[in-house]
């Protein structure tokens, strides 16, 4: 192949190696340097060196070891220069010794140190001291192997904004001396929750993408799933991690059917279930089973996953196990009470026990301030009133809902339903 082609081919291979190895390389370097910002910079320098040298020398047998060794050499140079400038010779001697003595055993596959380091990296990238959007950008950078440009395209944000977010995040972590460690005891639950929230945020950003968007956007679902699966192997005894993975696998199973050919959203009950990805559903159900083998109470992600699983198991909407969904929503409402969850529970109750039972619960939400401009509240109420034959009231509610929604198709649907009430009175 021509020189240019060969160059391009090596470039793509370097990118592939980067996606596979960058997380672990950065994690290992963070342990050595105790500074995640510096670690990432060093890893990036090694990447540049790879792009320059590998087209000539060929891809090394152990690319991760090459990248780490190159980064370490830069670190040593850096420390030498710094120590000479600041006259800290003893400190230099100690740091150099530490660097040089680390085992070069990136060859051994089941290296526990690397696993631990990767987990520490997850926790530091998702640290609650950072703003949420910074945590997402940093996680995708350090663990997802995405470039700043890719992250920018994925989040529909200008590239310099993302770059700044990442720079500031690294500075905050350094200034606040955030330790490179796995949290212990009671802190672990909260910090894990923060990490799961970041991963789910990334997933939802991708989930809200539509055809015609930059392909990086729906790609975020894949990135989030990969991060979730990685975390599940790093913390296999945490049921909520399996719960989140299950939720994402099952939601991702509907990617083909969520949006119609005109780019408009399709409701769950109108989706063509034959096109749901059974492989992903199977993976989601397996992840739920895995969570169940761990003897612990069910958390919010697992509960949401179980609700999604109820829909996934039903071959047609009429086969949905509504009583089970009611129980799951009740459990979820106790853990993370919210008016929206209560509304969803009301819908499930109406499907399981009839519109009257559902209406009672919906009416209790009438004065809920956070739902005042939420179009689904009057929409649900209208549907229940319609089923009870109270068409005049239903019409009013459909019109109210139509006025509140920003979605043209949904507005038209609601107005059509309002008009149909007029006819049958």
């Amino acid at each position: 192949m021509s020189a240019t082609n060969s160059h391009l081919a090596t470039h793509r291979t370097v990118e592939a190696v980067w996606r596979i190895e960058s997380g672990r390389v950065i994690a290992g370097l963070t342990r050595l340097t105790r500074d995640v910002g510096l670690a990432e910079d060093l890893a990036q320098e090694a990447l540049v060196a790879a792009l320059e040298q590998w087209p000539q020398s060929g891809v090394p047998d152990n690319p991760a070891a090459w990248l780490t060794a190159t980064a370490k050499r830069r670190a040593i140079d850096l420390f030498r220069r710094k120590a000479v400038a600041e006259r800290k010779h003893d400190e230099l001697a100690r740091e150099l010794e530490a660097l040089e003595q680390t085992p070069p055993d990136l060859d051994s596959p089941l290296d526990n140190t690397i696993g631990d380091d990767l987990l520490r990296l997850v926790f530091i990238a998702c640290h609650p001291i950072l703003p949420t959007e910074s945590r997402a950008a940093l996680t995708l950078r350090l663990l997802g192997g995405l470039t700043t440009d890719e992250i920018a395209r994925a989040f529909l944000t200008p590239e310099p904004t993302i770059a700044q977010r990442i720079v500031r995040a690294k500075r905050t972590l350094a200034d606040k001396r955030i330790p490179f460690e796995v949290p212990r005891g009671p802190e672990l639950a909260a910090r894990l929750s923060s990490a799961l929230a970041v991963i789910y945020l990334i997933f939802n950003e991708g989930y809200s993408a539509t055809a015609g968007d930059d392909l990086m956007r729906p790609g975020l679902c894949g990135d989030a799933l990969r991060l979730g699966r990685i975390l599940a192997e790093l913390t296999p005894t945490e049921p909520e991690v399996h719960g989140l993975v299950a939720l994402m696998e099952i939601q991702a199973s509907r990617t083909r059917t969520r949006v119609n050919s005109a780019g408009e959203p399709v409701l769950l009950f109108d989706q063509n279930r034959a096109q749901w990805d059974q492989l992903l559903i199977h993976r989601g159900l397996t992840a739920i089973e895995r969570a169940h083998t761990i003897n612990a109470a069910r958390g919010p992600y697992l509960l949401q996953a179980e609700i999604a699983a109820c829909h996934a198991r039903a071959r047609t909407p009429s086969e949905t196990d509504w009583p089970r969904i009611v129980k799951l929503y009740s459990e979820l409402a106790q853990l993370t009470p919210s008016p929206v969850i209560e509304l969803n529970r009301a819908v499930a109750v109406s499907m399981a026990h009839g519109p009257d039972a559902g209406l009672t619960l919906v009416d209790a939400l009438a004065s809920e301030p956070s739902l005042a401009r939420y179009h689904l509240l009057p929409s649900v109420r209208a549907d229940l009133l319609y089923k009870l034959g109270r068409h005049a009231e239903a019409r009013t509610e459909f019109e109210r809902a139509a006025a509140l929604t920003r979605n043209t198709r949904e507005r038209n649907l609601l107005l059509t339903r309002a008009a149909s009430c007029e006819k049958s009175r």
């Binding site: 291979t13 539509t210 055809a211 699966r229 780019g263 959203p265 609700i307």
Partner: protein
């Protein structure tokens, strides 16, 4: 992107009752663990020798059943993975790390899986603009979708 990664058979692996070398199994086990830890495996399975299988030949309206075993061992499938990675190069890099699945020279083939995006029609500029505008109207995630 999804890829099916196919381990081809060898005359040895095709032998009825052939059990894989424990050393090979241990190494392959470690490799599978690495893949799972990397979050890229969607599915994987091993296939039994072709003596336990069959072929159906199609010619016009006729269907002919042929029982295994089949002779061209190196063209047969011994096992497969389905991986989720971002490029063919990434799949290749992972396969390079795989231990030899057999005790003799062997082959692993990588094939890209068709996904819905491959079947999507080419959109016009207007259609793309329309879809992008529709994105702003997507309803709240709280509805079961």
């Amino acid at each position: 992107m999804r890829f099916m990664v196919i381990v081809k058979s060898t005359p040895e692996s095709e032998k009825a009752g052939a059990l894989p070398d424990p050393q090979l199994m241990a190494e392959m086990g470690k490799f599978n663990e690495e893949l799972i830890k990397a979050g890229i495996v969607l599915a994987m399975d091993g296939l039994q020798p072709s003596s336990k299988g069959a072929r159906v030949k199609f010619s016009g309206k006729s269907r002919t059943v042929v029982d295994g075993p089949f002779t061209e061992a190196k063209e047969l499938v011994a096992g497969f993975w389905i991986w989720q990675v971002k490029s063919l190069e990434e799949a290749i890099e992972w396969v390079k790390r795989c231990p030899n699945p057999h005790n003799v020279d062997s082959e692993i083939e990588i094939r890209q899986v068709f996904e819905m995006e491959d079947f999507a029609p080419i959109l016009s500029e207007e259609e793309i603009k329309y879809k992008v505008a529709k994105r702003a109207e997507l309803p709240n995630q709280a509805t079961a979708r």
